[in-house]
Symmetry: C2
Subunit: 148 residues, 2 copies
């Protein structure tokens, strides 16, 4: 598991560059967020980290997730009234948001990855990434509707 160590080193650097302290809690949380596929919620990250570090508190996870989001390391994924979910910036991918259940599905679409940064967005602030957001109704909800 030399790979694990190399990753950790990389996260440490990212934290230092952001001007925040490197703590074991933060490293564990980052590890978990990066490992998690899909869009983990705060609670899920908390549960996972708690296995390795039972003493960690829920609001440390809250605070760290906010810190990581401010660093641009993770991004909140908007869904409906659901709890906030995040994704680590793994690879270029896009989102399909279901209007009914609020679930966020990932999909890849290489043809659309190279979206130019819209000029109009530059006027609003510093752009860190661009992706496609598709809205619709997912299969699960379509089937549920059909049943009724």
């Amino acid at each position: 598991m030399d790979d694990g160590k190399r990753m950790t080193r990389c996260y440490e650097d990212a934290l230092r560059k952001a001007g925040v302290k490197v703590t074991r809690q933060r490293l564990e949380i980052i590890n978990e967020v990066v490992r998690a596929k899909g869009h983990p919620s705060i609670g899920e990250v908390f549960d996972a980290v708690r296995v390795l570090m039972p003493s960690i508190s829920l609001d440390t996870v809250y605070r760290t997730m906010r810190t990581l989001a401010a660093m641009g390391m993770i991004h909140p994924v908007g869904s409906s009234g659901e709890r906030v979910r995040f994704d680590a910036d793994h690879s270029p991918h896009h989102h399909f948001l279901c209007s009914i259940c609020g679930e966020a599905y990932d999909f890849v679409c290489p043809e659309l990855d190279a979206i130019p940064v819209p000029e109009q967005a530059l006027a609003i602030g510093l752009v860190r990434g661009t992706r496609i957001e598709v809205r619709g109704v997912c299969r699960k909800c379509l089937e549920k509707e059909r049943e009724e």
Copy 2:
């Protein structure tokens, strides 16, 4: 204000088509959501509707917003841990989401409006709309950072 009546008629039809009852509450809420520029939160819609209909209750607004979202008439705009906000589907526009404050800014970009629907998304469910989501840090937050 013949225009207002024509709009209302149109909303009634949309409700009927969705198979739900047409009530004064729902019409008032739709009216407000469509009128509101930006991304009104549930509370803001509630306050606005309450002016015309003081007896309306907060959770009627909650329930109706969910109904409207399921109908595809409005869409939740994901932001960070903030309360959920919605936008009516007015005109084609895109979103800039600030990673720090969670604010969602609208911008228009006609060149990008004609995004083809990605095939990969079709596999996930019924697609109702496609737009660009830009992530970054807004001017306000950039300035705040600079001060520190």
